[in-house]
Structure formats: C-alpha cells, structure tokens
C-alpha cells in the first residue's frame, strides 16, 4: 500500500527541493543534517498524523514521532527501496507506536461494559462530511485496544490474521475489537453532536 502524497503541501516542497527519495536516503545515511531535516520536514506531518491516531494524547503522538524518527535515522541504511519510502516510514511509526503503548500501558483486549450492537444504518458515507480533526480526536479517544485494531484494520489495511499475529491476540478478538470500535466511534460522534445523518449532504 503506497500512500498518495499529492494532497500534502509538504510534498510539493519535497518536489521543489529536487531531491529524489533515493538521494535523500543516501545522504541521511551519511548523517547529512540538511538531508535529515528535509526528510523530517517532508514526512513528519504525515507521520505525526499516523502516530496521533494511535496515541492516547497529542503529546504522546509527538513523543512517538520523536522516538520513531530516531529509529528511522538509525535504520535508514536497512531501507532497500522494495517499498515506497513513505510506506516504510509509516510502518516504523506504527511499530514505534505499538511498542510505546505496550510499554506504557496495559492494553485490554477483553470486552468491556460497552453494549455491543450492530447499527446497520451507520451512514458511513457521511464520515466524509465530519471535520477531520474531530474525527481523528474521536478515534484517539477510543480505548487503546479498539483504537489499535481500528487503525490497523480500517486504515492501514491489515487483515485480522495479521493483526492477531502482530498483537498476539486471536483473530476473533481482533474482529470483536474492531466491531466495538466502530460502534463506539459512532456513539462518540453522536455524543459530540455530530449526528451523521444531520451532516449528510453537506
């Protein structure tokens, strides 16, 4: 999965700099501080968006980004260009975020007191209409287990099997976490007054 960056203004800057990813990586490996800064400026906003979705708080997201970038700079020599640079960087940030969450809190995978119900009328299309920051805030406010699975399954495109292997849980746990995450996300949006139906067509 390669992410499209055309929408990001910083990518334009990247194009302006006239440096290819390959050249950028090579220079970063040689500890070229200028290249490292270019790499950071190009990808940090996108990667901070990723870490924000996994973190409990925005401050944690910044911390994850910093830890992740240290790993990135330390391990750039291992990047073989078999995938896109952005994909590789995103993967490192996700792993960093998962490790961070594992290290800093006990992630609960069991069902909690939330009532599980299927809302087939969930107007998913209307998600387009919701303010992006609000949507991301709502995702961030989900319980950690829900949030991780939602991010990995819905956004990153992992299968439940891959998630189960990555998080050392069962596939059924992953499925149930995702189902609960979806329901809870809808409830949160409604609680905040974002009646999805209300926003339909805006």
């Amino acid at each position: 999965m390669d992410i499209e960056f055309k929408k990001l203004p910083l990518i334009l800057k990247h194009k302006k700099s006239g440096i290819t990813d390959h050249e950028l990586v090579q220079r970063c490996i040689k500890n070229d501080a200028v290249a490292q800064k270019i790499l950071f400026e190009q990808y940090a906003p996108m990667l901070l968006g990723v870490s924000f979705r996994y973190a409990n708080l925005e401050a944690e997201a910044h911390e994850i980004l910093q830890i992740g970038f240290i790993k990135i700079f330390n391990n750039l020599s291992k990047f073989r260009f078999e995938s896109g640079l952005a994909t590789w960087l995103t993967r490192i940030i996700i792993n960093t975020a998962l490790n961070y969450l594992k290290a800093n809190e006990k992630v609960k995978w069991e069902a909690n007191i939330e009532t599980i119900y299927e809302n087939n009328d969930f107007v998913v299309e209307q998600l387009h209409q919701i303010d992006l920051k609000v949507l991301m805030d709502c995702i961030q406010q989900l319980p950690t287990g829900y949030r991780i699975v939602l991010n990995m399954f819905a956004i990153e495109g992992y299968s439940h099997k891959e998630i189960a292997e990555e998080l050392k849980i069962t596939e059924s746990t992953s499925r149930s976490q995702f189902a609960r995450a979806k329901v809870l996300l809808e409830k949160k949006l409604l609680t905040l007054g974002f009646d999805i139906k209300k926003y339909a067509g805006r």
Binding site: R53, E58, L65, I70, L127, L132, K133, I155
Partner: protein
C-alpha cells in the same frame, strides 16, 4: 460491505490528516539521537569491559600454562664454544654420601642416580641422568637459591649443578648451554649435557620448572603459573577536591580567584572489584556507587564588589556582603577498570593502580541557599545547574596502596587516591571545561581465592 465502505472512507480521511510537529522537534530528535548514541557507547563500553574481564578470566583459567621455558639438549659438541661473552656464575657441587641431595644456599648433598626434587610447593620431579653412560653428567641451571633434591636408589656418578644468580636476563638457551660446557672440566665432546634456561619466572617455581623439564626430557616445558582471583570491597573517602559546581563559568572563575571557601566535603565511593592477579600485575573491574558532595561553598564579598554579579545564577544578592551557599550532591554509578602493579614482600606489599571508571550520573541536586539583608534565607533548587552535567562521565583514577596480608587469603589495604574526570563533565553546549579533581583515601579489604 458496510465494513469496506467504512474502512475506505476512514482510510481516505486519515490520509488527509497531517499535523505539524513542534518547532524544535527536529533538534530534539538529533539531540536525543546523540544522547542515545552516547548511552549505547556506555553500554557497549560496559559490556566490553565485562567481556574483557570475563574472557581474561576464562583465558587465564583455561590457559594457566602461560610460561614456556626452553630446554636445550646438546649432544656431541664438536668444539668448545667461545664463552667470552657469557656471564658465568657457577659453583661446582661435590658428591658426598648422604641419602639426599640438598641445594640450599649453595650447599648440596647427593646420592643416587634418580633424583626426586622437592620444593616449597611440594612439586616432585624426577631427574634422569644423561643417556650417555660414559659421562653420566647432568647440568641443571637453577636460578633459585633453595632447592631440595631427595635421594634415589642408585648413586649418581657425577652430578654437577650450577647456580646462576640473577643471570636470567642475560641468558638465552644457547648461552646457558655453553656455560654448562664451560663449567665442566671435561671437554670431551662425547659428553652429554642438558641445560635449562629459566627466564623470568616466579622465585618459587624456578627450580621446579628446571627439574621438571630435565625430568621429562623435554625441549620446552610449560608450568602452571598461579592465577589469583580476588574480590575487594572498597571505600574511597575524599578529603579534598577542587570543587566545581557547574554554575556560571564567569562567576566560578571569580569564585575560585577571590570569593569562596571550600569546606571539606563528604564525597565517597563504595563498591566492589573483581580481580585477576598474574605475577605482579593485576586487573580489576567492578561496580561502585559514587556520591560527590560539594558540601558548602561560601561566597563571600570582596573588595571588588560582588554586587556586580547580581543575576549570575542568583548566587549573590544585590548587596554583596551576604554569605551564600551552594549545596550540591551528585550521584554516579560507576564501573571502574583498574590495572595494578605490585611489589614487596609477602606480608606487606605495595600496589600502584591506575585505570578508568565509566560513570553514569543518576542524580544531581543543587540547592542555592541565599540570604537577604533582613536575615531571611532561601533554599532554592537550581535545575539550570543540575541540567548542565553530562549523563555519562569518564574518570581517571590513580592510587597507591599499601597491602597488609592478614592471612593467606585476606588482606587489607589503604593509601592515597586521586580521581579526575577525563571526559566531558558538562554537556557539549556549555563552554565550561572545568571538572573536579579529587584527592582522598582508598581503603578496603581483599579476599584472594
């Protein structure tokens, strides 16, 4: 289907989501990376030191045969070699009828063809005479003063023993061989000689080595050199330091020049060392807890008017004549690696020890006690100063120890010690290069295995 739609929309929205990192995020990353590198270096250094110690231990345990001694067997020498350059200190031994051969301070008693040689360590060796029946001469070069050679069943026709005192540095195998020939009165080339060169070995083992080599008819012989393992528990008590508290450099310079009194501090180190001793050399490594207290630095007014120093770290107030105090303590865990050289007798000996200590700063507490003209005093924690110190430090150490052996296995020691920081005491961004130098007492107890 519903899931797919949900996922796709969420994925699309997430792609759009970007956040700007903090303005100083990149600098922080670089700084943390540097810090992580230093940490890795410290960890690697510690692991390296540990592995060196461990591998040295394993090596010494498994290869105690460190010393190799040449034994030259020369038969049928055609002519008498030129001996002009060979230092010879020899003493011919006469035969008598006693049951044993004793070499003790140049005295010898001998009887029998097969000789059992005993020494302090009760090493028993057999020395056979030359294979040449016509000569039956055996020359043993012994560098020690005291050897006991016990009897054998058959008489020794002609036994010659040379004692070469302090000659080992000048000798090689051939010269000793020549020496043996020269000292023999019979120049008949059919005589067989066996000579031994014993170079630079412990006093207690010299004779044994010589005897064992001859006995086994070997051209080289390896002995087991004693390796001692030790565990020391030590305490460093610092009597004096050139104190430095990390406050503003300019101010400190003025403090050192004019305005401060340094009270005796209460700095100390407590720790243990695991040691390996081989001959006179020792290698020690271990762990220690190090607490450095710059007990009190009194900043006093002087004629130059300290009032001018106001706002320099808030050490000195407006009026310049109040006494201000810096109360500071630093805690380190450290990993010393020390190399020592010991001389002296068995009861009392002296060690010169030097090495490095890898230090990790665990705690910094700096408090400024200030008072105003009304007599009110303030005690404030100064994190600006606390944060100046490098987390990882490298300190050098030099000490002279006097060891007193209480028993064969336990000794106590004490002596002067100096420690000094050789690495960067303050973080790189600070221009200060001053670092404390400590002078104190080193004492401890050593258990030898």
């Amino acid at each position: 289907m519903q899931d797919d739609k949900f996922n796709n929309i969420l994925k699309d929205r997430a792609k759009e989501f970007v956040l700007l990192p903090n303005a100083n995020a990149f600098d922080t990353i670089l700084a943390n990376r540097k810090k992580a590198k230093r940490k890795r270096f410290f960890v690697f250094a510690s692991v390296f030191v540990f592995l060196v110690g461990l591998s040295t231990t394993i090596f010494l345990v498994n290869n105690q045969n460190l010393e190799s001694f040449k034994v030259n067997q020369i038969t049928k020498l055609e002519s008498k070699p030129n001996l002009s350059k060979v230092p010879i200190i020899s003493k011919e031994v006469t035969e008598n009828s006693d049951d044993e051969i004793i070499v003790k301070k140049n005295k010898i008693k001998q009887n029998g063809q097969i000789i059992n040689l005993l020494h302090n360590d009760k090493i028993v060796c057999k020395i056979s005479n030359s294979n040449k029946a016509s000569s039956n001469k055996t020359n043993i070069v012994i560098l020690d003063k005291e050897v006991t050679i016990h009897k054998s069943s058959e008489s020794l026709n002609d036994f010659k023993l040379q004692e070469v005192k302090n000659a080992s540095p000048y000798l090689d195998s051939f010269s000793v061989a020549k020496q043996a020939i020269d000292s023999s009165e019979n120049e008949d080339s059919s005589f067989a000689y066996k000579t031994i060169v014993v170079k630079e070995i412990n006093d207690s083992l010299q004779n044994s080595v010589a005897a064992m080599a001859v006995s086994n008819n070997q051209n080289s012989y390896k002995i087991k050199e004693p390796i001692h393992f030790s565990l020391s528990v030590f305490n460093h008590y610092m009597l004096l330091n050139r104190a430095y508290n990390g406050a503003d450099n300019e101010l400190i310079n003025s403090m050192f020049g004019l305005h401060y009194n340094d009270q005796a501090n209460q700095s100390y180190s407590l720790g243990f060392l695991f040691g390996l001793t081989h001959k006179k050399m020792s290698l020690k490594f271990g762990f220690a807890y190090n607490n450095v207290q710059f007990d009190k630095l009194f900043i006093e007014p002087n004629s130059m008017g300290l009032g001018a120093n106001i706002n320099k770290g808030a050490l000195i107030n407006d009026f310049g004549y109040n006494i201000n105090v810096i109360d500071q303590s630093l805690s380190f865990v450290e990993m010393p690696v020390l190399l020592g050289y010991t001389i002296g007798s068995k009861k009392i000996n002296y060690t010169l020890e030097t090495g490095l200590a890898f230090q990790y700063l665990t705690q910094t507490n700096t408090y400024l006690l200030t008072s105003d003209v009304n007599g009110y005093s303030y005690n404030t924690r100064n994190d600006a100063v606390n944060n100046r110190f490098n987390q990882f430090q490298l300190a050098g150490q030099l000490s002279f120890l006097i060891n007193y052996n209480l028993t064969k296995h336990i000794s106590i020691y004490g002596g002067p010690l100096t420690k000094f920081h050789v690495g960067q005491y303050f973080k790189q961004e600070f221009t200060d290069r001053n670092a404390p130098i400590y002078v104190g007492l080193n004492s401890g107890i050593n258990f030898k295995f």
